[in-house]
């Protein structure tokens, strides 16, 4: 077993310290060591997108990063989106538009969409589909996810997003 390394990162606004093996994935560190189990693992080879988080603002797959690579980073997971009891507009939109069924892929979708709409607040229908194509969903056939994104755009516009 390799020597453990000390690290420190900010997750959802709170600073955490850890002592991890260099081979431990960031997803495992967030889930097992810190208990942020909203980040899900669907393939562990970087295709399904269920483990998507924000890493210094960028949407990344936490299964493809080692925890030690996140030393000093600012991380946001799905648990960091809501403000107290108030859901984020994207979360609300998913709920109201049935943008999920089993819910396993949902946190990854929501985090991807968060970054996507921040960078492209008024996407075309085609851009939405392309923007979602890095996340896999097996339940919905994507229709209600697309509807959720459109509803989220409206909500974000009205809240100044």
């Amino acid at each position: 077993m390799a020597e453990r390394r000390a690290l420190r990162m900010t997750v959802n606004g709170t600073e955490y310290e850890g002592l991890v093996e260099p081979r431990k994935s960031l997803a495992d560190f967030l889930r097992i060591d810190l208990g942020f189990t909203g980040t899900h693992l669907g393939c562990e080879h970087g295709v399904c997108g269920a483990c998507t988080i924000l890493f210094n603002g960028a949407a990344v797959r936490s299964c493809l990063l080692f925890a030690v690579q996140a030393d000093g980073a600012e991380i946001m997971t799905v648990e960091g989106l809501a403000t107290g009891e108030q859901l984020h507009p994207i979360q609300e939109a998913f709920w109201e538009n049935h943008g999920l069924q089993c819910g396993f892929c949902t946190p990854g979708f929501i985090m991807s969409i968060y970054a996507f709409l921040r960078d492209n607040p008024n996407p075309s229908d085609k851009e939405i589909r392309v923007g979602l194509s890095g996340n896999l969903c097996r339940c919905t056939g994507y229709h209600d996810i697309v509807s959720s994104v459109k509803a989220a755009i409206t909500k974000l516009e009205s809240t100044g997003g």
Partner: protein
């Protein structure tokens, strides 16, 4: 519709699902989110060979790795439990035995030969690399048609060949049909091997408590009570010493409703070590070592008249079940569904069939959303289109000639079904109108002149639901498949909890069953809560699969709710001094029908029920709780529908583009249209995946070539079109509540509609589609742009 005096307030409404809030916030609780003190982690060493003898296993180095708690092989582990005997006593079936780990022989790549338990999953996987196994490779059998001829090396040593079951049957007089026919039209449809791919892989935690001597299993499962019953039986424990808990489940599609051999190994390791043992399947294991489906071959012939009348069908169906069957299913659990789906809702009185299940060195078959529906619907609807083309008729004309109409019902189909309350013609007409079928032909002609290849395809279907022991072969252990139980209790404040045995994993049943129960009780929806997923709850049924949950789970909550409502009315009558006959309960109040201003809150009824027995009518027991069981009605609720797709095929690149897609489905009385439409669209996407993208490829040595998501292609957001859904309102007269089903029809409709549309687009090239998936290279091969694959 079945007798009911309740007013529909919640049922039929687009209620946003109650279960979603925790899931969108990241506070769901899936199996891998659960941690316990002293929890250990299991990992399996899996065979790299598809067929080989195990000569020797050396685990000494692995056992010495720091952090490893135990390493066990089949030799060490299997004797602790009796093997699962599969298919014993079923006519036409040769029984098999399955053990927790492979011993002596491996029969597929991915067979587990050893299990490691360690303090952490990383260490467990390190230890796997230190186990040394010597194999003696054997000839590998991957070809189901060869197996069906009785050729090849037997995969199970006690068998003479790889034919594991053989059945045949007939209805009417097929010879007479052939004599009267103008033409015999035949084709062989070969569906490729696919797999379920829930986004959450399988997983479990077993915890043997050495003090209490009981076993608790948390599992990502689509049932609760059958798992409890089977584990209790296998481990010789009383049922009350086994508890199965099912947390949130990240999809299943049929893959999480059977006993996998490795699950028993995880339980045995917890029994040995006395600590909780977690095993989480990784995606590679899920794709290569779990279960797969749909490798079905249908050789079919139709005896037809020149006007398109189908007089008879002759079919030979081969089901490649892989190297094993999975308990409590048996080898021929699914092939019969294909047999039934060939005549389906067409008036084909003469039918002769053979059903052959074969073993190959590939993972076992598990029912995948609409088992047999894909190839059954493709072969039926695809053959109809071929008949039409051969006879120079429009595919619609052949359907209209043979479809079971309202005036034919009840229709006794040659597949054994009684079709009644079926709207095949009506849904077909609605779908054709929505998509503009008749106008399309002109557009198609115009496009062809411009070298654009457009096509339209129809998938019309009826869909039987509810796999149970009356309909399909199932081993002991699932003898409760034809029923569901619900316990409904009202708390002293009037809040309602219902314990149910259906096991939702994305179907939204917490919401839909709340809607049904709120209406039945006459209380506000938000006061009702549905609880499930714990075998210690007072319910008992098979779970959620085979399109059964709305019908059976809905029926059970209606019965229990109705009984509770009667008691509430008795109490209200006593308190209000109004005869029961004049009372009803609505929106949380008991009120007098003749004088609606006289009302009493459900809160007060509940308070009375839980307090002073003197407040009660004489002889009535306190409390408000009811447990009721709903059994499958003898007459089935058959859902049906029609899907129509318009595609364009690019003959330069081979790409198929779905331009429009319409689905019309008769799902009976709809509880929540938002959820039903979501089920239909999701199901269409899974049908589309099998038609255009998904293929679990094995080479001649039984090696899986599609072991990652880069090779096994799931539909992405850019692959699935907008799907226009129409719900055809036609409640079932046979089920309580009028419910039918909505979860599997989309497979039947989409597979047939998309394939037929592609074939129609490519009609100028005179192609027949008889293999899948329709990836660009296959399309280009079919139209002769590139050479056929060898």
């Amino acid at each position: 519709m079945a007798e009911s005096t309740v007013k529909s307030r919640s049922v039929g409404a687009r209620i946003k699902p109650v279960e979603h809030r925790k899931l969108v916030t990241g506070y769901g609780n899936y199996i891998d989110d659960i941690q316990f003190p002293r929890m250990a982690h299991a990992a399996f060493l899996r065979s790299p060979y598809a067929h080989a003898y195990i000569k020797e296993i050396d685990t000494s180095k692995a056992k010495n790795l720091p952090g490893v708690l135990a390493v066990r092989t089949g030799q060490e582990l299997n004797s602790r439990v009796r093997p699962l005997r599969i298919g014993d006593g079923f006519p036409g079936v040769k029984p098999l035995e399955v053990t927790p780990l492979a011993v002596d022989k491996v029969r597929m790549v991915g067979d587990a030969v050893a299990v490691v338990v360690a303090t952490d999953r990383y260490v467990a996987e390190d230890a796997l690399e230190l186990i040394e196994v010597q194999y003696e490779p054997l000839p590998v059998e991957v070809d189901p048609e060869k197996a069906a001829r009785g050729e090849g090396v037997p995969i199970h040593d006690h068998l003479n060949d790889n034919i594991i079951s053989y059945e045949e049957g007939n209805a009417g007089d097929i010879d007479e049909a052939y004599r009267k026919a103008d033409r015999i039209i035949k084709e062989t449809f070969r569906h490729q091997r696919c797999t379920h791919v829930p986004m959450e892989c399988r997983g479990m935690i077993a915890h043997w408590n050495p003090g209490a001597r009981n076993l608790t299993v948390w599992g990502s499962l689509q049932w609760t009570y059958p798992q409890r019953n089977i584990l209790a039986d296998i481990f010789h424990l009383p049922e009350n010493k086994v508890r199965v808990i099912v947390p949130d489940v990240g999809g299943a599609f049929g893959q999480k409703g059977q006993i996998y051999p490795g699950d028993l190994a995880v339980c045995l390791m917890s029994i040995e070590l006395g600590v909780p043992v977690k095993w989480i399947e990784d995606r590679r294991e899920n794709l290569t070592a779990c279960s797969q489906a749909r490798e079905h071959i249908v050789e079919i012939e139709a005896a037809v008249k020149n006007d398109g009348t189908i007089l008879g069908l002759r079919a030979r169906v081969i089901d490649d079940i892989g190297a094993y069957a999975l308990y409590p299913w048996v080898p021929n659990s699914w092939v019969g569904i294909i047999i039934a789906y060939l005549p389906n809702h067409y008036k084909i009185p003469n039918y002769k069939w053979e059903a052959i299940c074969v073993l190959t060195n590939k993972p076992p078959e598990a029912p995948y959303r609409g088992p047999g529906h894909a190839v059954g619907s493709w072969a039926r609807e695809g053959l109809i289109d071929i008949i039409a083309r051969e006879l120079g008729l429009d595919p619609l004309e052949v359907r209209l000639k043979n479809i079971v109409r309202e005036e034919d019902q009840p229709y006794h189909s040659s597949n054994g079904w009684i079709l009644e309350n079926v709207s095949s013609l009506e849904t077909l007409e609605q779908a054709l109108q929505a998509i503009g079928y008749r106008d399309f032909r002109a557009e198609q002609q115009r496009a062809r002149k411009a070298n654009r290849y457009l096509g339209i395809g129809i998938g019309s279907f009826t869909n039987e639901n509810g796999a149970n022991e009356r309909d399909i072969p199932i081993n002991l252990g699932l003898k409760n498949a034809g029923q569901e139980v619900a316990t409904v209790r009202m708390q002293p404040t009037g809040r309602v909890q219902a314990f149910v045995s259906v096991a939702p994993h994305g179907q939204g049943l917490e919401t839909t069953l709340s809607q049904v129960l709120a209406d039945e009780l006459g209380v506000p929806l938000e006061t009702v809560e549905i609880l499930h997923g714990d075998s210690d709850m007072p319910a008992d049924g098979a779970g959620t699969f085979a399109d059964r949950s709305a019908i059976l789970g809905g029926g059970a909550v209606i019965l229990a709710g109705r009984e509770l409502r009667k008691k509430m009315l008795k109490i209200a009558s006593h308190l209000m001094e109004i005869p029961e006959e004049d009372l009803e309960i609505q929106d949380g109040y008991a009120l007098s029908r003749s004088a609606p201003e006289k009302r009493l809150a459900v809160f007060d009824i509940a308070q009375a029920a839980f307090s002073d027995p003197g407040a009660f009518p004489a002889g009535l027991e306190g409390g408000l709780v009811s447990t009721r069981r709903y059994e499958y009605p003898t007459r089935r609720a058959t859902s049906n529908g029609a899907h129509v797709a318009i595609v364009e095929v690019d003959v330069e690149t081979g790409k198929v583009d779905i331009k429009r897609y319409v689905a019309v489905e008769d799902c009976g009385r709809v509880i929540n249209p938002m959820i039903v439409e979501g089920q239909i669209r999701g199901c269409v996407a899974q049908g589309l995946g099998g038609v255009l993208l998904e293929h679990m490829v094995y080479d001649q040595s039984g090696q899986p070539l599609t072991a990652t998501f880069l090779d096994y292609l799931l539909p992405e957001a850019t692959d699935v079109p907008d799907i226009e859904v129409h719900l055809f309102d036609n409640p079932s007269p046979f089920t309580l509540g009028g419910f039918k089903s909505a979860g599997e029809g989309g497979i039947c409709g989409s597979v047939a509609a998309i394939i037929n549309a592609v074939a129609d687009a490519l009609a100028p090239f005179n192609v027949r589609i008889n293999r899948l998936p329709l990836k660009p290279d296959r399309i280009l091969q079919m139209i002769g742009k590139i050479p056929q694959a060898s």
